[in-house]
Structure formats: structure tokens, C-alpha cells
């Protein structure tokens, strides 16, 4: 019944995708192109996409019409390629598998050959079921009440005279941990991320904190005479970097009193 329905719609050609005529617009693809991209990216992989195609049409997993699903799957894959979405290799592997199952089903059965290997269709169906079960379980877990969102631990303070015990940390451990961070993040990006001298980063934090207690600060207030020339440079670089990261605004008071430049936190400027 489903099949004859589909055949009727294949009369006209919708589009050519990489030379292949797209005969039929999948019914659920009437989505604006931007949304389409988001939509296609939402799949967790080929199994997820297949499940979507199957469920969308109220098909039974154990009884999937392979030819139809294969066709629809390929259309999606081509859409993704057309949109230049980075396509995980797994999607192509699945396309090949579907094509293989489809061709096998067209051939007459060869019982002696099939005995020692599992029917790839049965394997696929089992994997789809298994994945769907996990997918549902993951959704159910997401709904469970959990700490930080639905559960809050109650603690009563204990007024004791002894100081609270903290774990000891060796400088080596701290540096080792940081080395791991650098190792994980790629070489290029961390030079980008950690490019300013440390003193500048620290000064940035200090300036922001100073701004917490004031509407704005005059430039002059940010330079400390006893720090000398080096201190001035550090403050200056910190101000520029804060401005670049849009954490502060540099402005000139509009009362034309000849006052110097001031800075204010980006928040007070927005308000």
C-alpha cells in the first residue's frame, strides 16, 4: 500500500542532486533551508537517521521495506552533502550496507551460503532496536530528577573553632594538570587563548574588580606610580584587552569639561 503511494509521486523530478534526479521530495522535508541544516545536524548518526525515517512513517522496525528506506536515506545523505555538512564516514558505510541488503533481497536465496553468516538485514534490525532502546533510556534518564537542576542538598553549618581542613596541593600537581589541558587543546588554539602575559591577565581581573564599586574610573586611577614604567604598560595592555573582549567601555565624559578618558564596565554602558 505504502509502495504504490510512493510510486504515484515519482512522476516528476524535483531536483538534480549530484547528477542524480531527485524524484520525490521526502514528505518531511518541507522546511526552510536554514532549519533544514539544523534538522539534519540533529541526528546522532546513521542509526538515528534511519530510526527517524522509520518512525516518521509509522513503519515497524522488524518489518522495514528496505528499498523504500534505502532510497529515502540516500536522499538525506545527498542533502547533507549538498549543504556541505560534514558527513561522518559512518553515514556512508550505512548507505553501502543498505544498498547491499537491497541487492541481496533481489537475488534468489542461496541457503547454503547464508548459513554461516548472519543475514545483514537481521543484524541491522537488531542494531536499530538496540539503539532505539538506548535512545529511549537516555531520554528517560534525562527526565529523572537530578542534582543541580531538581535536587538540592541541605547542609547545616557546624560552628567549630577548628579551621576547616582542605586538601594539600603541590605546585607540581597544578602544573601537571595544566600541561594536560594544553596537550588536549590543540597547539594553535592555546597560543591564541593564552597569548597575553600573565601579569596582563591578572591586571584585567583587578581592573574589573575595581569597577565593581564604581560607575566608572578615570584612566589615571588605573596606573600606579610606584609600579613604574612596566606597571603602566601592563595596565594599558589590560585595558586594551578588556575593551577588545567587550568587558569594558572606554569613553570620554560628554560634559566637555576637558576631563580625561574613563572606563566603565560594559554592563553599565548597556544599562
Amino acid at each position: 500500500m505504502q509502495d504504490s503511494d510512493l510510486e504515484q509521486k515519482t512522476g516528476q523530478i524535483f531536483a538534480l542532486i549530484q547528477g542524480t534526479p531527485l524524484l520525490q521530495m521526502p514528505e518531511d522535508l518541507y522546511i526552510p533551508p536554514d532549519a533544514l541544516e539544523v534538522f539534519l545536524e540533529a541526528f546522532e548518526g546513521p542509526l538515528d537517521l534511519l530510526l527517524y525515517l522509520i518512525r516518521k512513517q509509522n513503519l515497524d522496525i522488524v518489518n522495514i521495506p528496505v528499498a523504500q528506506i534505502t532510497h529515502q536515506y540516500i536522499v538525506y545523505i545527498q542533502m547533507m552533502e549538498l549543504l556541505n555538512l560534514e558527513l561522518a564516514a559512518e553515514y556512508l558505510v550505512m548507505a553501502a550496507l543498505l544498498a547491499e541488503i537491497k541487492s541481496r533481497m533481489l537475488l534468489p536465496r542461496q541457503p547454503d551460503l547464508e548459513e554461516d553468516e548472519e543475514d545483514p538485514r537481521a543484524t541491522l534490525i537488531r542494531r536499530l532496536q538496540e539503539y532505539e532502546n538506548i535512545k529511549q533510556a537516555a531520554e528517560a534518564i534525562d527526565q529523572l530528577p537530578r542534582l543541580e537542576r531538581d535536587l538540592f542538598v541541605c547542609v547545616a553549618e557546624v560552628a567549630l573553632n577548628m579551621p576547616k581542613q582542605h586538601p594539600d596541593v603541590d605546585m607540581k600537581e597544578l602544573l601537571f594538570a595544566f600541561k594536560q589541558v594544553l596537550k588536549r587543546s590543540d597547539q594553535l588554539s592555546h597560543h591564541q587563548i593564552f597569548k597575553e602575559p600573565l601579569s596582563v591577565r591578572e591586571r584585567m581581573a583587578t581592573i574589573l574588580e575595581k569597577l565593581k564599586g564604581a560607575d566608572s574610573l578615570a584612566f589615571a586611577q588605573l596606573f600606579i606610580r610606584k609600579e613604574g614604567r612596566h606597571g603602566v604598560v601592563v595596565s594599558f595592555l589590560a585595558i586594551l584587552e578588556l575593551s577588545k573582549e567587550r568587558l569594558i567601555d572606554i569613553f570620554q565624559p560628554d560634559n566637555c569639561s576637558g576631563e580625561q578618558l574613563r572606563i566603565r564596565s560594559a554592563s553599565s554602558a548597556a544599562g
Binding site: E90, M94, Y131, I141, L144
Partner: protein, 180 residues
Amino acid sequence: MELKAIVEAILFASAKPMTARQVQQVFPELEQPDLADIEVAIDSLIEDYQSRPVELKKVASGYRFQVRSELAVWVSRLFEEKPPKYSRALLETVAIIAYRQPVTRGDIEDIRGVSVSTNIIQTLLDREWVRVVAHKESPGRPALYGTTKAFLDYFNLQSINELPTLQEIQNLDIVIENQP
């Protein structure tokens, strides 16, 4: 009576869930009450707090006082940071580890049909939701992952059996044969 008050104070003072055994250990060595008495005190406390804004709840690694979930929506605004959202990929990965443990990364990839990013495994290890329980005796000796008590605590569960039930996989043998 006195014992119950001390148990209550201990459980309120602790930032982590505590078992009856751990509560017992807090008492000076020569004054440690019987475990059974502590358990009676805890049960009685659970009862006392039944209809209060705060409940005494048993989770995997012990008992903890927590805000009753109906009130959580009010309390959540106490915290500036939004609670973390977990991606589908992460939830599916931890679900596979929870239901199929011990599993290797390869097993997870087989079930999900896509590769598992190192970030996800790292996040799960970081949060101490999963740990390496052993290494598989196969080429490369891949790590076998299992979930932890901290994972169950986080989701308010006492044991892995309380996880949502997994659907049975239908048997295919019969259906397959009559396919065109």
C-alpha cells in the same frame, strides 16, 4: 532519643551522603552505638521528615538531606549558574555504560553507530559518573567502563536497578523468514 538527635546533626552537617556505617564511625571509638540502633534512628528520621520541605533520602552512597523536589523550582534560582545541560550523545553514552557495563568504547560505538568523542568519555570520568573497571583482554587492552555510585547519587537513585527499564529486543527469527 539522644542518639537520634546526634544522627540527625551528623547527616545535616555532612556535605556528602553517608551510610549508617559511616555515621557510626563518627562516634568516638568506645561510644559507638550499634549499627542497628543507628538504622532505627535513620528510619525514624525519614518518617519525621516525610511531610517537610526537606527530606531524608537514601541514594546509592548513603543518606542525605535534600530539598523536596516540589520545592526545587523555587530553590533553583538561588544559584547563579544555570544547571548544566547534557547532550544526547553524552546521555546515550552513559546509558549504554549503565545498562551494558562493563563496556569498551568500541562497544559503545557499535551500539550508537557513530564514534564516541574523547570529550564525552572525559566528561563522564571527570564527573565521576563512570570509571575504568578493568581492561579487556583483547588487542590494545581497551578500558572497560562502568558507572559509579556518584552517578546514581546524581540522579537520586539507590541502585542501578532503579534506572528506567530498558525495552526488550523483539525476537526476529520468525519475522525475517516471510520477508519478500
